[in-house]
């Protein structure tokens, strides 16, 4: 056994290798949603090409769907969703439409069905495909031309990614979560720090995370510029997968586990770059700016743009403070929010909802704060409702919604108004990401819930 985890999975999927050309890589699972697929299907039709492996392809409706009951009212959104339905029917692709019990955000649906398994190659026309790397899969986002390529050939020509080891050792302090780990990593290495790399997250703090927490970490690898994030599979992974609808059974299960158990980087594997973190030093994190690398511990103050060494970082920070309506030196904890959003492919799974509910239980959302809680999939919603979490949220004054991408991006009715400020468990604080003029602070579900109660950026320890 030699090489890193990602190199080993890569090598096992090379269909064809030739000097001076990219490797042709086989794709085990192709996920689709309504936004990045219509032009790919059009391309197939124009060239009179078929979908090679509809049985390795799955579609769901997520970006455009409203999270309140009823049909899509925006005619353009409606067309996009209807186009996906027509395409899936024409090319015989399994689709989970709105209203289906298996519908949800594409990166929540794959894992919960057991379709995401160790050692696989997984792609989707969506940058947060990195989520699936939590299972020890090589999973990465692609563009629409590549979606068309995979539909037609079940393979992709790609040049090998470089490898970056991010090791987090030690025990996380109380109230510090997977989201804080990944926000701290991005703040340290920057939005380009992972460019061209697959990040392998390692170390005792990563091993101690649940599968859902690992998904949160891998999900945001792309925000550090990385193509993918991954974590070697272990007993936690196998326990999560066992019994899921598409997980292997019987002799296949035994064969799979035997194979999966070998999936790790060799002891002598050499990474192109390595970074270390001490989990014990991490604290709840929050972003203050307009890219996910502009983050700080919640106990810090809004930074002075002049304190950055690099000219382009200075300019970027100045612009960010202006957009965010913040002044240097303001304690982050003094920042008042209008909206709190719990959900998305980053933090819309059942453990995230349980964590937020635990904080909210028996309390009321602060006066003037709107809180949206949006499960990542319909099955997550049903699970939460069976545990009574919906009641906890409603009684606290939060809105309990149907599954979808919701306020993570301004493509559906859940948006910030211009100038409105949110604490959000989603993944991007770009200008206008949550709605034109909206101001986003990225946080963990625990910080989101505590912020909802106090009305200012807060951690549970502040309650």
């Amino acid at each position: 056994m030699a090489g890193t985890l990602s190199e080993r999975i890569w090598d096992a999927h090379v269909v064809r290798r030739a000097e001076g050309e990219p490797d042709l890589l086989y794709i085990d699972l192709h996920l689709l949603h309504e936004v990045t697929s219509p032009q790919a299907f059009d391309g197939l039709r124009l060239a009179d090409r078929a979908v090679r492996r509809p049985d390795l392809t799955l579609a769901t409706e997520d970006h455009n769907v409203p999270t309140t009951p009823g049909p899509i009212t925006d005619p353009v959104s409606k067309t996009q969703v209807e186009t996906l339905r027509r395409n899936c029917a024409e090319f015989d692709i399994k689709l989970f439409p709105m209203g289906d019990v298996d519908q949800g955000i594409v990166h929540v649906v794959g894992p919960q069905l057991g379709l995401t398994q160790p050692g696989m190659t997984i792609v989707c026309g969506d940058s947060h495909t990195s989520t699936h790397g939590a299972f020890g899969a090589l999973a990465f986002g692609i563009g629409t031309s590549e979606v068309e390529h995979v539909l037609a050939t079940q393979s992709l020509p790609l040049k090998p990614f470089r490898t970056l080891a991010v090791t987090v050792d030690g025990a996380l302090p109380e109230g510090v979560t997977a989201k804080d780990i990944v926000l701290a990593v991005i703040s340290r290495i920057g939005t380009a720090g992972g460019q061209g790399y697959v990040i392998e997250f390692r170390g005792s703090a990563i091993r101690a995370l649940s599968m859902e927490a690992r998904m949160t970490v891998c999900n945001m690898s792309i925000e550090a510029g990385a193509r993918a994030g991954m974590i070697a599979p272990d007993q936690t992974t196998f326990d999560y997968l066992r019994g899921r609808p598409h997980a292997p059974t019987g002799a296949d299960w035994d064969a799979a586990v035997e194979q999966w158990s070998t999936l790790r980087s060799a002891d002598d594997a050499v990474f192109d770059a390595e970074v270390h973190f001490d989990a014990a030093e991490l604290t709840p994190y929050v972003t203050w700016g307009t890219n996910p690398g502009q983050g700080l511990p919640l106990s810090a103050n809004v930074p002075d743009p002049e304190s950055f060494a690099d000219e382009s970082d200075k300019a970027s920070a100045r612009r960010a403070l202006e957009y965010m309506g913040l002044s240097a030196g303001t304690p982050l904890k003094d920042i008042r929010v209008d909206t709190v959003f719990v959900g998305s492919c980053t933090n819309g799974r059942i453990e995230d909802l349980r964590a937020a509910a635990e904080i909210l239980k028996g309390h009321k959302v602060a006066q003037g704060v709107r809180m949206l809680v949006v499960p990542g999939s319909t099955r997550v919603r049903l699970q939460a409702e069976s545990e009574g979490l919906d009641k906890v949220f409603s009684e606290a004054g939060a809105e309990w919604r149907l599954a979808g991408c919701s306020m993570c991006l301004g493509m559906n009715p859940d948006q910030l108004a211009p100038g409105e400020r949110s604490a959000s468990t989603s993944n991007r604080n770009f200008e206008g990401r949550q709605g034109k003029g909206g101001r986003t602070h990225l946080v963990s579900p625990l910080v989101a819930a505590a912020t909802a109660l106090r009305g200012t950026l807060s951690s549970p320890a502040d309650l």
Binding site: D42, A256, M411, F430
Partner: protein, 197 residues
Amino acid sequence: MDAFTTHTGIGVPLRRSNVDTDQIIPAEYLKRVTRTGFEDGLFAAYRKDETFVLNNPSYAAGSVLVAGPDFGTGSSREHAVWALMNYGFRVVISSRFADIFRGNSGKEGLLTAQAGQDDIELIWQLLENEPGAEVTVDLRSRTITAKGIVAPFEVDDYTRWRLLEGLDDIGLTLRHEAAVTAFEARRPSYLPTTIDA
């Protein structure tokens, strides 16, 4: 895809770093199901600012975008490439591109020319001093020329070859369909399918 050998057009200085794909085209403009018409969403938020470079008539017909580092980060939306191309851009020059954006550009025939930040600074100064000045980007020699400035740029060999030939990636892969079929015969039986379990 049209072949790309050399292009000359008005250069547009975009002095910003970390221009993510949400800035290139916000989500609300992603709802079309065609590859055309996305120019209306290009830099939609920036264009509301009347001092934004594309609102200056001298640059409005630009086709070579000269941007700051880390261009195209964030979402995988190929709509960002379509928006730039629909508007009329054929080349983006930056010292650093996000990976997915660069890949998408190569598929569509938008050249992402990676140049040194010092050279970009010189080109910015030229374009700001002489609005409407032209920039020539020669893919054969991997050279950017603008007035007295001659700067090399990087683009990987394979993408360069495909762009020069105007080759369709899928057609290239389909030449190796037998290899794909042979690979499929070797896949382990426990791997999942999306057919109802």
